[in-house]
Structures are given as structure tokens and as C-alpha cells.
Amino acid sequence: MLTLYNPICSLYNPIYYTTIMAVEYDGGVVIGADSRTTTGAYIANRVTDKLTPIHDRIFCCRSGSAADTQAIADVVTYQLGFHSIELDEAPLVQTAANLFKASCYRYREELMAGIIVAGWDKRRGGQVYTVPVGGMLVRQPVSVGGSGSTYIYGYMDSNYKPNMTKDQCLRLVSGALSLAMERDGSSGGVVRLAAISETGVDRQVILGNQLPKWSTA
């Protein structure tokens, strides 16, 4: 997905050439990301948190330029917070996703940002929306993003089934992410997970030595 060489952005900008993933289940969503930020070949941050809260029950997974995605996330957090106060109720995930799309599409020439918006709202439950580079918006039950995502499409297609439980989703996401981190040089570190539901957000970290092992060596 991030195989386009962007002539505007210098390779020495901090980049999340990453693996991010989000899965819907009945009652919420599970999101996950690796933790590597690179500036060229140097790992600038090996414990990055790419799962950013936008609102109480809405998160986004960021891939692409670190600065761009942080800036967009800040803008959307402000807009959504204001909107939520005006409405006097919790915002919809769909609203957050549309706000991301508005920024990503309007400034598509200047930005390099692939974002997955996921969360829970009381009207439609758990939802996952993907806003890839270019500013498209589409809702999907499962979505993967980042450079490492290419290695796990097959795993996802064969292992994802609709109506999974929260624990099955957690295992699916941690398994997929560790596979991607194994193969993609730009992804690595720890696996950060978050499960978002009506009751709240439950965050976890799976350290390197605790990751599911896939290779026999």
C-alpha cells in the first residue's frame, strides 16, 4: 500500500512504515499496531504508540508520515470534541471517519497518511472505517494498513470469520501483527492492542518475547 515513492517527503522524515489493523466484533472493535518509527534506516522510536484516542470510544490507527498523521489526528480531535459538545451526546464513529476523510482528501497532495478509524457508538455498535492515502472512506468489518499489511492479507482472509468474540479478535490481531512484524523490515517492536466497547477501552501491550511464534527457527 505504501509502495509509492513520494517525491515531496524526504526519507529522513519520521515515518510509520507500519502494520496497523482493526477488527469489528459484536459489541465493539479490537485495534492493533506495531511500535516502530523509522527515520531512514534508524529506528527513531521502538516503542511508539500508533493507537491514538480521538474521543472516549473512538480511536485511530496511524500509518504514513508521523507528523502528518499526528497533525490530522489533532485537528479531528478538536473538531469532534466541539461537535460532540454542540450535539450534547457522544459522537458517532462515522462522523469521526468523515472528518478524517475531509482533511485527508482536501490536502491529499501534501499529506502521506493512511488511517484506520475504529470505535464504538451506541447507534451502530463497533465500526471500522479505513481512510487510506488519497482520502477514500469505506467501512469494512476488518481492515489492515501500513507497509506490513501486504504480508498478512492472506492470513486475514483465511482466518477472519464474521461474528467472532472479543478474545478471538484479540488473538487474530496479535497473530497477524506478529506475522507482519516478522517479515516487514519497517514493522517491529511490541504489539499494542486496544479493545473498545461500551464499557470502555482496554489497552494491552505484548512484548517481543511474548509474541506468538510463527517461524520454526
Binding site: 450535539l87 468523515n98 447507534r123
Partner: protein, 262 residues
């Protein structure tokens, strides 16, 4: 220099303008909202269906107005823009509570400055969507907006409110409510002062799949028939009571709505 006291009077005068207009009512039931407007026909030359008093603000939102029609039309454009901008920015239907607050804020702004006059119209907004269900809000010239189960604006609003309070609207469906709305409009219509009128009925709810539209002709005709039957019974009783009073040499004017027994 206009004093603050006078600015407040302007708002009250605006509300009087609304009270001179013919009645409009809106009632919320368990699966939708129904609007009914008593549209007085001032000239036989008018084309039927012209000078609409019910507007479409968005696919799922309707607006019934009373007062200066020109002011109401301009406000309906404001409401349409709000709803459209919301959908464009946030990707889904505007919640009615938010829309009515935004339009009410706009109306209120015109009560703050001496260079402009307050809007001389009240309106009732109603909507139906999957998530919130049926909603009904009323905005008046002072810029205040309240949510209602049933409300009335215009010259016979007190009488209409009395009628509306008798209904158990929370248990009714749109189809039942259409007939009751027609009946109320026929009841509050003053045959003596205002002669001909056209009944404008519209609804939005499950029955229309969430789309605000005028009630189809056949259902409207049926509702009007029901309304006429109910009010004829009333007029008969009215006739009897007036005769009795005159015999006793006391002159009182009885309005039909005080004689409602059904």
C-alpha cells in the same frame, strides 16, 4: 436610539403576527410525525395547492409554518442549508434537536439588533430517523426552541392545544393520527370569520420509510371525510345550545371547540 425595552416589544409584536395567521399543528406519535395546516383561501383565483405552508427541509425533516410566509420561506432556506452542511461535514442525517437549535439561534440573532426586525413566523420541525425515532420541535420568533409531543401555532392554537391534549399520541400510529390531525384542524377552523380553507397534511415516519412527504391524496380525502363527520355532529350540538341560550334572553357566543363531545 432604540431602548432595550422596545426591542423586546418587537419580539412580542412578531409573535402577534403569528397569532393572526391560520393554525398549524404538529403531533408526534410512536412511529412518526404528522403536520396539519389550515390554509385559508383568500381568493377563488388561487390555484389549488399553491402557497404551501409545509416545507421539506431535508429528506427526513419537514417544517410547518405560521405567520409571515415570506419570513418562513427564508427560514426554511436557512434550515435547508444547515441540514445540508451538516451532512456534508459529518456524513449523516442531522439530528432534529441540533437543527432546531441552530435555526433558533439564527432567529434569535435577529432579535438582538435595531437594524433588523425579528422574524414574524413560528414553525414546527418534525423528523423521523432510524436512530432517534420521531422528533418534534417548535421555534418561535424569540428564538426559543422546545421539543414536543404535540404543538400548535397560529390563531386557534389554544383551542388546538386543548384538542391535542386529549389524544393518546404515544400509542397511536401515523395512519390513525392523520385522521385526528384533520379532525382537529376542522374543529378549530372558524366558519364564521374565515370561509374557505384547504387542509394541508404531511407526514414522516415508518409509514413513509423516513421520507417527509405530503399525505397521499386518498388518505387525505379519507381523513377529511372523517373530520367532516366529527365536526358536523359538533355543529348540530352547537345549533341546539345557541337556540336554548337565546330563549333565555342571554346572548353568548359559543365557539365550536367548546362544544366538542366526541
Amino acid at each position: 436610539m432604540i431602548s432595550l425595552g422596545q426591542l423586546v416589544f418587537q419580539v412580542e409584536y412578531a409573535m402577534k403576527a403569528v397569532e393572526n395567521s391560520s393554525t398549524a399543528i404538529g403531533i408526534r406519535c410512536k412511529d412518526g410525525v404528522v403536520f396539519g395546516v389550515e390554509k385559508l383561501i383568500l381568493s377563488k383565483l388561487y390555484e389549488q395547492g399553491s402557497n404551501k405552508r409545509i416545507f421539506n427541509v431535508d429528506r427526513h425533516v419537514g417544517m410547518a409554518v405560521a405567520g409571515l410566509l415570506a419570513d418562513a420561506r427564508s427560514l426554511s432556506e436557512v434550515a435547508r442549508e444547515e441540514a445540508s452542511n451538516f451532512r456534508s461535514n459529518y456524513g449523516h442525517n442531522i439530528p432534529l434537536k441540533y437543527l432546531s437549535e441552530r435555526v433558533a439561534m439564527y432567529v434569535h440573532a435577529y432579535t438582538l439588533y435595531s437594524a433588523v426586525r425579528p422574524f414574524g413566523c413560528s414553525f414546527i420541525l418534525g423528523s423521523y430517523d432510524q436512530d432517534d425515532g420521531p422528533q418534534l420541535y417548535m421555534v418561535d420568533p424569540s428564538g426559543i426552541s422546545f421539543g414536543y409531543w404535540g404543538c400548535a401555532i397560529g390563531k386557534a392554537k389554544q383551542a388546538a392545544k386543548t384538542e391535542i391534549e386529549k389524544l393518546q399520541m404515544k400509542d397511536m400510529t401515523c395512519r390513525e393520527l392523520v385522521k385526528e390531525v384533520a379532525k382537529i384542524i376542522y374543529i378549530v377552523h372558524d366558519e364564521v370569520k374565515d370561509k374557505a380553507f384547504e387542509l394541508e397534511l404531511s407526514w414522516v415516519g415508518e409509514v413513509t420509510n423516513g421520507k417527509h412527504e405530503l399525505v397521499p391524496k386518498d388518505i387525505r380525502v379519507e381523513a377529511e371525510k372523517y373530520a367532516k363527520v366529527c365536526t358536523t355532529t359538533t355543529s348540530l350540538l352547537h345549533g341546539i345550545s345557541v337556540t336554548w341560550v337565546q330563549n333565555n334572553s342571554t346572548f353568548k357566543v359559543f365557539f365550536p371547540h367548546f362544544m366538542v363531545t366526541n
